[in-house]
């Protein structure tokens, strides 16, 4: 009995369950569900942005003075030369800076970023299209070849294939043939391309198109061809 009790306690320790069910992970097993591998630094989760630090609307009629521009650039962590407000650019986003549309993948992967996945440092200005240019969505890196040259090569190859097809249709290498002979005549044969374009229901339900007439064709052979001899 004591052996059973000891084994059950060992099993409980290994599996990590107890008689009292709880959502929180036990000490024995570190659940991945509650484990944050990239925790927020303690200073940042207590930060509160309010007042002038929030995005403010700008009056587009007045020209930005250098002092105000420097102040707004400092607010977003930029130098004044790089700061261009999005006030009337695409839609009114106030004094939020207009940042270049470059993907995260363009950044240096070997640099020691604070956030290695998004390749971003804390306190860095973030584009409004940050979700669009995230590493899994858009890749704005330059292509290995010139796209126009790629299109030229692609359409050149395609049109040369079509040209060869047309050439082979124009200059046949086989002997010319007569029409194919069939032992029966369908009324729908007189309609051009009726086999391809007419539906089966239409052809099958019309009694006029159902009437078939036998056709006699004649051979050119002096002696009949015996298929069993071959």
């Amino acid at each position: 009995m004591s052996l059973l009790r000891a084994s059950s306690s060992i099993l409980r320790k290994v599996v990590g369950i107890s008689k009292v069910q709880s959502c929180a992970p036990t000490l024995n097993v570190l659940s991945k569900r509650f484990y944050d591998p990239d925790p927020t630094p303690p200073v940042y989760d207590q930060s509160l942005i309010e007042g002038e630090d929030l995005i403010c609307l700008l009056d587009s009629s007045e020209i930005l003075s250098p002092e105000k521009k420097a102040r707004l650039a400092l607010k977003y962590g930029l130098i004044p030369e790089d700061y261009h407000p999005m006030n009337d650019h695409d839609f009114n986003l106030g004094d939020y800076p207009h940042l270049p549309a470059e993907s995260v993948l363009e950044r240096d992967p070997h640099y020691d970023w604070d956030d290695p996945f998004y390749r971003r440092n804390y306190g860095e200005p973030i584009s409004v299209d940050v979700d669009l240019y995230s590493p899994l969505i858009l890749d704005t890196r330059p292509l290995p070849h010139d796209p126009q040259q790629q299109y030229r090569v692609l359409f050149g190859a395609l049109f040369s294939c079509f040209f060869l097809w047309w050439l082979g249709g124009k200059y046949r290498t086989n002997l010319p043939r007569g029409p194919k002979q069939y032992p029966e005549h369908y009324p729908s044969d007189e309609i051009l391309h009726s086999w391809e374009w007419d539906s089966f229901e239409k052809r099958g339900l019309e009694p006029k198109l159902k009437e078939r007439t036998p056709v006699t064709n004649y051979t050119l052979e002096k002696y009949k061809w015996n298929p069993a001899a071959h």
Partner: protein, 117 residues
């Protein structure tokens, strides 16, 4: 090689695309081309229009063989070769018909020219 280049370019002497001329020069004294299956048998086999030609019996043999030997289609290779033999002979027959009609057209043209003079 060179068949297409050595061909005549006078299209009015060629029966290309003129199906009425074949009916005009039809000779009924020739032996009748034999069909090995009837229309009812082809209907029962539900053959498509393009397969209801003079090789339909071999096509039906292929279908039967494939149904019997599925999925071992390589067993039907001799039957398929027979069918190919038949289709190639059909193409040869069409070429001969073309050449015959072309020569008859030339002969008729010559005759009409003599009669006019």
């Amino acid at each position: 090689m060179g068949w297409g280049l050595s061909r005549s370019v006078r299209i009015e002497d060629e029966p290309l695309g003129k199906s009425e001329i074949y009916d005009k020069f039809e000779d009924e004294s020739r032996p009748v081309r034999e069909m090995f299956v009837t229309t009812e048998e082809m209907d029962k086999a539900s053959l498509l229009r393009k397969d209801r030609d003079y090789c339909a019996h071999l096509f039906m043999d292929i279908m039967k063989c494939r149904r019997e030997w599925f999925p071992e289609y390589y067993k039907c290779r001799p039957v398929v070769e027979k069918y190919q033999h038949c289709t190639v002979n059909d193409i040869k027959h069409r070429m001969l018909e073309y050449e015959r009609t072309k020569r008859l057209m030339a002969r008729e043209k010559q005759r009409l020219a003599i009669e006019a003079n």
